[in-house]
């Protein structure tokens, strides 16, 4: 499903940093991959490369066999297949919850108003906030906003969902409701790449855990392997600090 080969990216601002250093990964359809690592380790950059919000300097990304970094690839078409959920939700504040979910359906998928509306209502039911369809995002709690953001991404019927620290900006009591939605998605067989600090989620849902530091993948394995006997010294140190 996702095939990443020797991906490298260097930031020059504010100073020269190797954000990604020869990253290679293969992710199968239906797999849930959790990426962990200290801040500045390049895990967000890696995730953002997967839908080209960040463009790598070199390497290859294939999604369903299509080369994302080939200049002839229609990147808008590809992005519609790859949903993304952000740390800061990024809902459109001038649109209602319903409009947030229907906007891209109407403009990108060219669905009819009725179809888009029905789809939006079904998704709101799925994330458990049907009663808030007509309100504006600033009237919702953080957890509700993030669930709307997930519904917005799902409305495009993506093949892959990317989560960029989806619970980091939430109050502790709201983390659960968002994780529950993500767990449901995982059980339904969605291909997911999740950058998170929620080790409980990683242990429970992940098929595979990737540990990154300084732009490189240092260790990869099943959750049991990670949380019982990690091999890499850096991984051990990181896990001992956060667990």
């Amino acid at each position: 499903m996702i095939h990443v080969e020797n991906l490298s990216k260097t930031f020059f601002v504010p100073h020269k940093v190797k954000a990604l250093d020869n990253v290679s990964v293969h992710i199968n359809a239906g797999e849930v991959v959790v990426v962990i690592g200290p801040s500045g380790s390049g895990k967000s950059t890696f995730l953002r490369c997967l839908n080209q919000l960040e463009v790598a300097n070199s390497g290859k990304i294939l999604i369903d066999g299509i080369d994302l970094m080939h200049p002839k690839t229609n990147i808008n078409k590809m992005r519609a297949e790859v949903g993304m959920v952000f740390q800061s939700f990024n809902l459109f504040p001038h649109k209602t919850v319903l409009e947030n979910i229907t906007l891209a359906q109407l403009t990108v998928r060219k669905r009819t108003k009725t179809d888009a509306h029905d789809k939006a209502m079904r998704l709101l039911e799925k994330v458990g906030i049907t009663d808030k369809a007509k309100v504006y995002p600033d009237q919702l709690s953080g957890g509700q906003q993030q669930r709307v953001a997930i519904a917005r991404a799902l409305a495009m019927d993506p093949k892959i969902m990317l989560f960029d620290e989806p619970t980091s900006a939430l109050d502790p009591e709201m983390i659960g409701e968002v994780l529950d939605v993500m767990k449901t998605l995982a059980r339904e067989g969605m291909t997911m790449v999740v950058v998170t600090h929620e080790m409980g989620f990683a242990r429970e849902v992940a098929d595979r855990v990737i540990f990154m530091d300084q732009g490189a993948i240092l260790e990869t394995g099943t959750p049991e392997h990670f949380f019982t006997n990690p091999e890499n010294e850096r991984t051990k140190l990181f896990l001992s600090q956060i667990l």
């Binding site: 808008n76 790859v82 990024n90 459109f92 001038h94 906007l103 891209a104 990108v108």
Partner: protein, 333 residues
């Protein structure tokens, strides 16, 4: 807004209000007193005629004949003149008749004076200022929107053109730009058109063009700042859903930026309404030029320049009220 924790005493408050009015009356009284020292005679009653005046129009006969009947019906009076083979009727509204039934009239004779209300020179000037400003604002918005978008584009042709345009316009005085539009571009265009025997572009167009281009450069910077003030996450979120750059701009970025740029835009347009007073120098009779002309005929400069200033104030104030209304409406959705 008052500084918190620094409440003003009630007595101090009223004293300050009184002081304000004393100052105001003092300044007005001082000016008035000074004008008396130079024997200036205030004639405010002369001002209204430059807004509207009653024109006396002559109603003239076109044929020779006898006035056969004069009928009054309401405000109108009908005078019928009959010669050997035809009859012509003239209608006079609210006028004074100079003929009676049975009189003989000849072509060119005045039958009656008719009063008609006409817009005075100041009213015409005010209207022209309004018209010029309105057109320049519309074009200024369009030019500014595109220049602002080009300014943040990654395409160097677009970006550099926008930067050149903005810097050229903002770096030179409007007066000079008006001269360039009228005396350089205007001469070029009209001479070439004349060479091919074509229609001539009136000065008003060059005046409007100079104002629109001038405002456009400032609007471009306001638009750029407005767009850049929208959090990057907004465009990332819309693009991650597969929307194109244009779709993301139209549906997500610009509607949000629009709300933020209304206040600086209002300031820009208000200063443009005032700047339109410079167009008088290329023979466009807007409000200031009209006032100048009235001053030379009426010899009442003091009254007229105050009136002129107040008319601009009325224009700018109502415009800013209008934009405040729009702003409130977009904020409350």
């Amino acid at each position: 807004m008052t500084i918190p924790g620094n409440p003003i005493k009630k007595s101090t408050y009223f004293l300050s209000v009184a002081l304000f009015f004393i100052m105001l009356i003092g300044i007005i009284g001082g000016i008035y007193f000074a004008t008396l020292q130079i024997d200036y005679v205030w004639r405010w009653y002369r001002v209204p005629q430059y807004f509207v005046f009653q024109d006396k129009m002559e109603v003239k006969s076109e044929i020779q004949g006898e006035v056969s009947s004069i009928r009054a019906s309401g405000e109108k009076t009908f005078i019928t003149i009959k010669d050997s083979n035809q009859e012509t009727t003239y209608s006079v509204t609210d006028g004074t008749l100079l003929v009676d039934e049975g009189n003989m009239v000849y072509p060119g004779d005045t039958l009656a004076f008719q009063k008609k209300w006409k817009a005075g020179i100041l009213m015409q000037g005010l209207w022209l200022t309004l018209e010029v400003s309105f057109i320049a604002i519309i074009f200024g918005i369009v030019i500014g929107l595109f220049a602002g978008l080009a300014r943040i584009s990654s395409n160097p042709a677009l970006k550099w053109s926008a930067i050149t345009y903005i810097e050229l316009i903002r770096g030179s005085p409007l007066l000079v730009q008006i001269f360039i539009w009228y005396f350089v571009l205007g001469t070029l265009i009209n001479t070439i058109l004349a060479k091919y025997g074509m229609w001539q572009v009136p000065p008003l167009w060059f005046g409007v063009a100079s104002l629109a281009m001038f405002t456009g450069a400032y609007v471009a910077e306001i638009v750029r700042a407005g767009i850049q003030s929208i959090h990057r996450g907004q465009s990332e979120a819309s693009r991650s859903l597969g929307m194109t750059y244009v779709q993301s701009m139209i549906h997500v970025i610009l509607p949000q930026a629009f709300r933020r740029i209304i206040p600086p835009l209002a300031g820009q347009f208000i200063s443009m309404i005032k700047d339109s007073s410079l167009l008088g120098i290329i023979a466009i009779r807007e409000l200031s030029k009209a006032t100048r002309e009235v001053v030379t005929t009426s010899l009442q400069p003091f009254e007229l320049w105050f009136v002129c200033a107040i008319l601009y104030l009325v224009l700018t104030f109502s415009f800013s009220m209008f934009l405040q209304y729009i702003e409130r409406r977009t904020l409350s959705q």
